[in-house]
C-alpha cells in the first residue's frame, strides 16, 4: 500500500513536468520587451499628476502646491508636473497611460520594506525573497536562445529580477565583453555554500551573456536623435542600443534615484522629473525611429508616494499610493483607475485605488500573453 502510493506520487511529480515544460517554453510573445524605470526614494505622486482643480490640494500643500507654468494640463482636472512636459507628445499621441492611485492594502512606509513588497509582489505582511519577474521566469521562461532574460542597468540592484537564474548587470558593454574573455571558466559544483553558489551562477551567466552582447549584439549607436547626458539618459540609451542590436532580452531595468524629498521638494523633484521626462522622450524617439516602439512597454514604479500634506520643511514625508506611467507603441493612452480622494485620507495618506499587482498582471497577460501570477488582480486593458 505504502509503496504503491509512493510510486504513484513520484509518477505524478514527474509526468506533469514532462508534459508541461515544452508548452511553457513556447508560451508568451517574447519578442516584446519590458523596460522598467524605478523612481527610487518614493516619488511624490500628488505633485507629479496634480489634481489642479481640487481646492483641497492647495489647502494640504500651501507651500509646495504647483500651479501656473509649473503645470501642463492633461485634461480639465489633472495637470502634469511641467518637468515632465517632454512626455506631452506621447500623451497627445495616445501612447502614454497614467494609472492613478497605485498602491496596496496596509501600506508600509519604510523605503526598504515597501520596495521589497513591490519587487516581490507580496502582500503587506508577507515576506517573499524572489522578485516578481523571477517568479514568472520560474514558470514561463523566455526562450533558451535569449542572450539573457534580464539586463539590469543603473545601480539599484536586481529588484524584480532578484533570485532569477538568468540576468546580468551591465554598465559598460565593451568592458563587460572584454573582461568576460579573461574571466576564468568554471565547471565545478559550488556545493552548499550560498555565497559560492551565487558567484558560480553569476560567472555562468557572464559567460552566457558575453557571447550575445559582443559584436553586433548591441548596436554601436542608438537609433534616432541624441540622448541627454544624464544618468537615466545613459541607461535608456544603452537600452535602445540593446533593443536595436542582435541581442535578445525580455526585460531591461533602469533606475533614477533621489526622490526622497523630505525637504525643498519642488526644486529637487523638478530636477529629477526633468531627467526622467527628457530621457523617456529620447527613448521613445529612438524606438520610433527604429520602428521598434510597438515592441516596447515602459513602466515606472516607486516604493511609495508621499504624504498628502506637506511637512513644514517644504517637503513631504513617506506616504502610500501614487500614479504611474506606461508608455509604448501598443499602449492605449489615457487615464486608468481612480485618482484617490483628497477628502478621505487614511492616516494622512492617499488611499490606493489600483493594486500594483494589476500592473504586473497587465505585463504578464496583456503584454507577454502568459497567464497572470496574480489572478485576483486583473489587467488594466491598456495594451492594444
Amino acid at each position: 500500500m505504502r509503496i504503491s502510493r509512493r510510486h504513484l506520487l513520484s509518477g505524478m511529480g514527474v509526468l506533469p513536468l514532462l508534459a508541461l515544460r515544452p508548452n511553457m517554453a513556447l508560451a508568451g510573445d517574447w519578442s516584446r520587451i519590458l523596460v522598467l524605470v524605478e523612481l527610487a526614494g518614493g516619488n511624490d505622486g500628488l505633485n507629479t499628476v496634480v489634481p489642479q482643480t481640487d481646492p483641497l490640494y492647495r489647502r494640504l500643500r500651501p507651500g509646495i502646491a504647483l500651479s501656473g507654468d509649473r503645470l501642463v494640463s492633461l485634461d480639465e482636472r489633472f495637470g502634469l508636473n511641467a518637468a515632465l512636459s517632454p512626455l506631452m507628445p506621447a500623451w497627445r499621441g495616445g501612447d502614454l497611460a497614467v494609472v492613478q492611485g497605485v498602491g496596496y492594502p496596509g501600506p508600509d512606509r519604510s523605503h526598504f520594506r515597501s520596495i521589497d513588497i513591490w519587487d516581490t509582489a507580496s502582500d503587506s505582511a508577507e515576506v517573499l525573497t524572489r522578485g516578481w519577474l523571477a517568479q514568472l521566469f520560474d514558470r514561463d521562461a523566455p526562450p533558451g536562445d535569449f542572450t539573457t532574460d534580464g539586463l539590469v542597468l543603473g545601480h539599484d540592484g536586481a529588484g524584480p529580477l532578484a533570485g532569477a537564474r538568468r540576468f546580468v548587470e551591465l554598465r559598460n558593454p565593451g568592458r563587460f565583453v572584454r573582461d568576460a574573455k579573461r574571466s576564468p571558466a568554471l565547471s565545478a559544483d559550488a556545493g552548499s555554500n550560498p555565497a559560492l553558489q551565487h558567484i558560480v551562477r553569476v560567472q555562468a551567466e557572464i559567460d552566457r551573456a558575453a557571447a550575445g552582447l559582443s559584436g553586433d549584439g548591441i548596436a554601436a549607436t542608438a537609433p534616432g536623435p541624441a540622448f541627454p547626458k544624464t544618468g537615466l539618459g545613459h541607461q535608456l540609451e544603452l537600452a535602445a542600443r540593446v533593443i536595436a542590436g542582435q541581442a535578445r532580452v525580455a526585460v531591461i531595468k533602469t533606475t533614477l534615484g533621489g526622490f526622497d524629498t523630505h525637504i525643498n521638494q519642488v526644486a529637487i523633484q523638478r530636477r529629477l522629473l526633468d531627467e526622467a521626462g527628457e530621457a523617456l522622450a529620447a527613448f521613445r524617439g529612438s524606438m520610433q525611429a527604429a520602428g521598434l516602439w510597438d515592441r516596447v512597454l515602459v513602466m515606472t514604479y516607486s516604493e511609495f508616494g508621499r504624504r498628502a500634506a506637506e511637512n513644514g520643511s517644504d517637503g513631504t514625508d513617506h506616504g502610500a499610493a501614487a500614479p504611474h506611467f506606461l508608455l509604448g507603441g501598443r499602449v492605449r493612452g489615457g487615464f486608468y483607475g481612480q485618482a484617490p480622494s483628497l477628502a478621505s485620507l487614511e492616516n494622512g495618506d492617499l488611499q490606493y485605488t489600483t493594486d500594483f499587482r494589476q500592473l504586473y498582471s497587465t505585463v504578464l497577460q496583456s503584454w507577454w500573453g502568459v497567464p497572470s501570477l496574480w489572478p485576483g488582480h486583473p489587467p488594466l486593458g491598456l495594451i492594444t
Binding site: V168, F176, A190, N193, A195, L196, V202, G315
Partner: protein, 471 residues
C-alpha cells in the same frame, strides 16, 4: 631591506616577538594560553576582523595565542584616532546650510566644485588610513558604523561634517553604544542627512525618528507609526550652532509638550526618548543580529544572537564586551561558517593591497575602484548603508573584481604600485604550496590546482578562484 629582515628573523622570530608582547599585554595574570588557536583559526579571526585576508606574519603571531588572548590583543590594540593626517582644509569652518542659502549662484557653484574635490580627498584619506593602519579592526568597526549610522556626502554636502562624523564613529567604535547613539542624534552630518535640522515644533519632520527606530536601534516591527510621530516631536529643535560649532536642542524650536512613546508619556526631549529605546530588549537584539551578519554568517542563529544580545545589554551596551563574546565563541570558529561571507569592495581593495604589501603612492584610484565595485565610502547608497553579502557580486562587479586582483598581482604588468617584495616572497617564499593556498583562501578552492603546478600558477589560480571573493 624590510623583506630581508623578515627573512632573517623568520617564523621563529615572529613567534618570539609575539610571546614577548603577550606577556606585556596580560601582565597582571601570568599568561595561560591554555590552547593556542593555530593557523586556521588565527587566519579566520584576522580576516574577519580585518580586510578579508591576513598576512602570514600576522597569522603566525596570533596562532600561538588562545582565542581569549588573541581577542584581548586585538581589542587592546584598537585606536581611537586616525594615524593618517587629514587633508589640510579640515580646520576651515564648515559652511552651513544657512550660509550656503545666502550665497549668490556663482558662489554656490564654486562652493560645490570645491566640496566635490574635497569629498574625493576625504575618501582618499580614509583609504590611506585603511591601507596603513596598524589596527585593521578599528577601520572595520568604523566602516561598520558608517554603514549603520549612515550619512552621505551627496546629501550632507559639507565634507568637514562627514570628517567629524568619522572621528566620532572611530572614537566610540568599541565603546558604549548608547553614548554613540546619543552623539549621533546630535551629529551635524546626521542632522542634515536625516533632516533633523528642519524638525521643529510647528513643522515636525519624521525622517530621523523613523530611521532611528527602523535601522539604528529597534528594527522593524518593534514600534508603531504613532511612536515615530511622537518621537519626532521629542527630537524637534536640535540645531547646529555655527558660532559655538556645536549642536544644541533649541528651546524655542523644541516641542515641549507631552509625548507618548512605547506606551509611556512625558515631556521628552532627545535623550529621554533614547533612554526609552535602550530599555527595549529589541535594541540589543537588533545590534546583535547585525554583528552576527557582519562577522559570522548571513544566516541568523536565533540562539547565538540572543546570547550575544544578553551579554551586550548586561554589559551596559559595551561594544567591546559584545565583540569579545562574539569572537571567542565556538560558533565564530565553526567550520560551517568559514567562507560564508562575501568580501566587501573595501576588503578586496585594501585587503589585497595589504596582503601583497603594496604601497600605493596615492589612494584616489582606490576611491574610484571602490565606487565601481559598489562601495563609495562616505556615500552609501541609502540610509540602510550597503546591503552587502551576495549583493556585492553581480556580473559587472565580479568582472571588475577579477580584473583588479589581476592588476594588483602584477599579471600582465598592469600595476604601477610600489612594493612588490611580499608578492615575490609569496611566490618564492618558504610556505609550502598547500600553505600558500591556506593563506590566500578561507576554504579549499572550487577548482583544485594540480599538485605539479608551479607556485606562480598556484598563486594566480587561487586569486582567480571564486573562493578568493569570500572570507
Amino acid at each position: 631591506m624590510m623583506s630581508r629582515l623578515r627573512d632573517a628573523t623568520g617564523l621563529f622570530g615572529v613567534l618570539l616577538c609575539s610571546l614577548a608582547l603577550l606577556s606585556c599585554v596580560t601582565q597582571p595574570e601570568p599568561p595561560a594560553p591554555s590552547r593556542s588557536m593555530g593557523f586556521s583559526e588565527a587566519r579566520h579571526l584576522l580576516a574577519r576582523t580585518g580586510f578579508g585576508v591576513a598576512t602570514a606574519a600576522d597569522i603566525h603571531s596570533y596562532a600561538v595565542l588562545s582565542r581569549e588572548a588573541a581577542v584581548d590583543r586585538l581589542l587592546s590594540s584598537v585606536l581611537r584616532d586616525p594615524v593618517t593626517p587629514p587633508p589640510d582644509w579640515i580646520d576651515e569652518p564648515p559652511v552651513s546650510v544657512a550660509q550656503r542659502r545666502a550665497m549668490t549662484g556663482r558662489e554656490r557653484q564654486l562652493l560645490e566644485q570645491q566640496r566635490r574635490r574635497r569629498g574625493e580627498q576625504l575618501k582618499a584619506w580614509w583609504y590611506e588610513e585603511m591601507v596603513v593602519t596598524p589596527s585593521p579592526f578599528t577601520e572595520r568597526m568604523t566602516l561598520f558604523w558608517h554603514g549603520h549610522f549612515t550619512s552621505s556626502l551627496k546629501k550632507v554636502r559639507e565634507p568637514v561634517f562627514l570628517y567629524w562624523q568619522n572621528l566620532l564613529l572611530r572614537d566610540l567604535a568599541f565603546g558604549d553604544f548608547r553614548e554613540l547613539t546619543r552623539r549621533i542624534a546630535r551629529d551635524p552630518a546626521m542632522l542634515i542627512y536625516l533632516d533633523g535640522y528642519r524638525n521643529s515644533a510647528d513643522a515636525p519632520n519624521e525622517n530621523f525618528a523613523r530611521e532611528l527606530f527602523e535601522l539604528f536601534t529597534l528594527g522593524p516591527g518593534n514600534y508603531t507609526e504613532t511612536d515615530i510621530r511622537e518621537a519626532a516631536r521629542a527630537f524637534s529643535g536640535v540645531r547646529y550652532n555655527e558660532k559655538l560649532q556645536a549642536v544644541r536642542q533649541s528651546r524655542k524650536l523644541h516641542d515641549s509638550g507631552i509625548k507618548s512613546v512605547f506606551g509611556q508619556s512625558g515631556r521628552y526631549a532627545a535623550d529621554e526618548v533614547l533612554d526609552l529605546v535602550f530599555e527595549q530588549p529589541a535594541t540589543a537584539r537588533f545590534v546583535a543580529a547585525r554583528l552576527w551578519r557582519e562577522f559570522v554568517s548571513p544566516e541568523p542563529d536565533a540562539q547565538e544572537i540572543e546570547a550575544l544580545a544578553v551579554v551586550f545589554r548586561r554589559s551596559g551596551y559595551s561594544m567591546a564586551a559584545a565583540l569579545r563574546h562574539l569572537l571567542t565563541a565556538d560558533s565564530f570558529y565553526d567550520l560551517r561558517h568559514r567562507g560564508m561571507l562575501v568580501k566587501s569592495p573595501v576588503d578586496m581593495l585594501v585587503g589585497t593591497i595589504r596582503l601583497f604589501g603594496l604601497t600605493p603612492d596615492k589612494t584616489e584610484p582606490l576611491v574610484r575602484q571602490g565606487r565601481d565595485l559598489g562601495q563609495d565610502i562616505f556615500d552609501p547608497p541609502t540610509v540602510k548603508g550597503w546591503d552587502g553579502g551576495a549583493v556585492w557580486i553581480n556580473s559587472t562587479t565580479l568582472l571588475t573584481r577579477q580584473d583588479l586582483v589581476r592588476r594588483f598581482s602584477g599579471e600582465g604588468g598592469g600595476s604601477r604600485m610600489a612594493g612588490r617584495e611580499r608578492l615575490a616572497e609569496l611566490v618564492a617564499g618558504d610556505l609550502s604550496k598547500a600553505g600558500l593556498v591556506r593563506l590566500l583562501l578561507p576554504i579549499p578552492p572550487l577548482t583544485p590546482v594540480a599538485a605539479e603546478a608551479s607556485r606562480v600558477k598556484l598563486l594566480t589560480d587561487s586569486l582567480s578562484d571564486p573562493v578568493f571573493q569570500l572570507k
